[in-house]
Structures are given as structure tokens and as C-alpha cells.
């Protein structure tokens, strides 16, 4: 399947949705909704609510993440927002501020 990459000089203000992986190296403001993986590269800046299967953040995210599978915050990333996902990995060096909810789908 084609690889979608939003290059580093691109600024999108709006909504992105789709059924494939998405790599963001530029700036996206708005809303992102994918059935597969979202990768926010080191240069990426996302100010949006994110709803996907997996998310990998190496850049900057301001917004809430709702992932059906897993969220990974890599070192040097900066995230402000709530994360809701069954699996979460926050690497040493990552900067995160927000709530984490891993009880997705499991009643309490």
C-alpha cells in the first residue's frame, strides 16, 4: 500500500482520515483519524486529536490520542494531552503531560 508522508515543509489545517499508515514530518492542526499507524516524526508538529490503531511520536503532539492498539512516545518527543490505549510505551527522555487510560474495552 502506498506510504503517505506529509513532508516537513507542509502545513495542514483540517482533517485527515484514511486506511493506511501516515508519517507526519510537517505540521498538522485539526483532527487525524486513521485505521492504521500514525508516525509523528521528529520534525512533526501535531495539534490535533488523534484516533488511530497505533501511534508513534518522536516529535510534538498537543491533543488527545485514542489508539486501539498501542501508543509509543519516543525519547525527545513532547506530548501534551490524554492518551487512551491498551498498550503504552514511554521512552526515557520523552516529555509527557496528560492522563493515561489503559483500560480500553475492559470494564472496571
Amino acid at each position: 500500500m502506498a506510504n503517505t508522508v506529509i513532508g516537513s515543509s507542509i502545513v495542514i489545517d483540517g482533517e485527515i482520515s484514511g486506511d493506511e499508515d501516515l508519517v507526519i514530518q510537517g505540521t498538522v492542526k485539526g483532527k487525524i483519524s486513521l485505521k492504521e499507524s500514525l508516525i509523528v516524526a521528529g520534525s512533526g508538529v501535531v495539534e490535533a486529536d488523534i484516533d488511530t490503531q497505533n501511534v508513534e511520536v518522536a516529535g510534538k503532539v498537543t491533543g488527545n490520542i485514542n489508539a486501539s492498539d498501542r501508543v509509543e512516545l519516543k525519547s525527545d518527543c513532547r506530548m501534551v494531552g490524554d492518551i487512551k490505549a491498551p498498550r503504552i510505551l514511554i521512552a526515557d527522555g520523552a516529555s509527557f503531560k496528560g492522563n493515561v487510560d489503559m483500560d480500553v474495552g475492559k470494564g472496571r
Binding site: G7, E15, S17, S43
Partner: protein
């Protein structure tokens, strides 16, 4: 297309087939659309709409190569090309426009000043809109009576401001100004 990007490398951006972007998109790199973009696109480089791509937006770019569907106006500082698979509805404003055989297009094309006829020194007139031009011979004779009343002498420069130019447009269409000047025919 494998994209490894180093930051600021101005690498081309690709929008995959299943992606829909709705909003405004701007950037300083080439953009290849295989999916769907709606809204507004502004690039300082090239927009490529692949055969599967659909762009329903107003577009302002340097170049555009359209092999998919574009609905909206396209303004380019360099060129617009509609390839054989391309389909576009909208207006094009660019100094170079290429429409390849097989392409479909409906809209206006403005390349700036076009000097299509320079004769008669009889001033210029804006383009009459094509309203049922198939039978313009009848219209022509009535226009003849009407237009001679309208255009006594030389009409002023045309009211059309295309690309900020001021050269008068050529006199259009015989019907518009049928001053019967019986020129001495050079046979």
C-alpha cells in the same frame, strides 16, 4: 516512493490512495496526491495529481500536473499540464498551459495577454460569452446594427483585467464589430 526525510530536506510529500485531507494544505515542496484533498492547496512547488487522485480545491502552485481529477480553480506561476488521464473542471490561470490529447477539461484558460489579431486598429472588445453560438450568423446581423451603435469610433481599452496587463484585446468575432470597410482587396 520511499521517503526518508531529514528535517527540512524539502522531500516530496505523498498522499496515499486511502487518505482524505479536508482543510487547507500549504508547503514548500512537491506534493503528489493519490488520495483525496479537499479545500485549499498552496505550494511553492509542484502539485501532481495521480490518476487515482481527486483534488476538490482551489489550488495555487508553481506547476501542476494533472492526471487525476481536479475540481476547482488552478493558478500556477509556471505551468499547468493536464495529461491524457486528467480531468478538470475549473479555471486555469498560468503562463503555460498544456492540454494533452485525451484529457478532459471544462473551464476558462487565462495565459495573460494573447495577441490574436492586430488589425483594423479598431480597438478591442471583451470576449462575448458563448450563448448559443452555433447560430451566430443570424445573431451577427442583428449585432451589426446593435454594435455599431455601441461602438462609435474606437472603443476604449477592454474592461478585462487579466494578469494586470493593459494591452487591448483584439477585436473579436466579426459580429462584434462589423464596420464594413471595403478594403481594397489585395488579390
Amino acid at each position: 516512493m520511499a521517503i526518508q526525510s531529514r528535517e527540512g530536506a524539502g522531500v516530496a510529500t505523498e498522499i496515499g490512495e486511502s487518505i482524505l485531507i479536508s482543510g487547507s494544505l500549504e508547503g514548500d515542496e512537491d506534493l503528489t496526491v493519490r488520495g483525496r484533498v479537499e479545500g485549499n492547496v498552496r505550494l511553492t512547488r509542484t502539485l501532481i495529481v495521480e490518476a487515482s487522485g481527486v483534488v476538490k480545491a482551489d489550488v495555487a502552485v508553481k506547476d501542476a500536473v494533472i492526471s487525476g481529477v481536479v475540481v476547482g480553480n488552478v493558478t500556477a506561476t509556471d505551468s499547468v499540464q493536464i495529461t491524457a488521464d486528467g480531468r478538470m473542471v475549473g479555471d486555469i490561470a498560468a503562463p503555460r498551459v498544456i492540454i494533452v490529447d485525451g484529457a478532459s477539461f471544462r473551464g476558462r484558460v487565462d495565459m495573460g495577454d494573447v495577441d490574436a489579431a492586430r488589425h483594423d486598429g479598431a480597438g478591442a472588445k471583451s470576449l462575448p460569452r458563448p450563448a448559443g453560438k452555433a447560430s451566430s450568423s443570424a445573431a451577427r446581423s442583428t449585432q451589426l446594427a446593435r454594435s455599431s451603435a455601441r461602438e462609435s469610433g474606437r472603443p476604449a481599452s477592454p474592461p478585462r483585467p487579466p494578469a494586470g496587463s493593459s494591452a487591448p484585446l483584439p477585436p473579436l468575432m466579426a459580429g462584434a464589430k462589423k464596420r464594413v470597410i471595403l478594403k481594397k482587396g489585395k488579390r
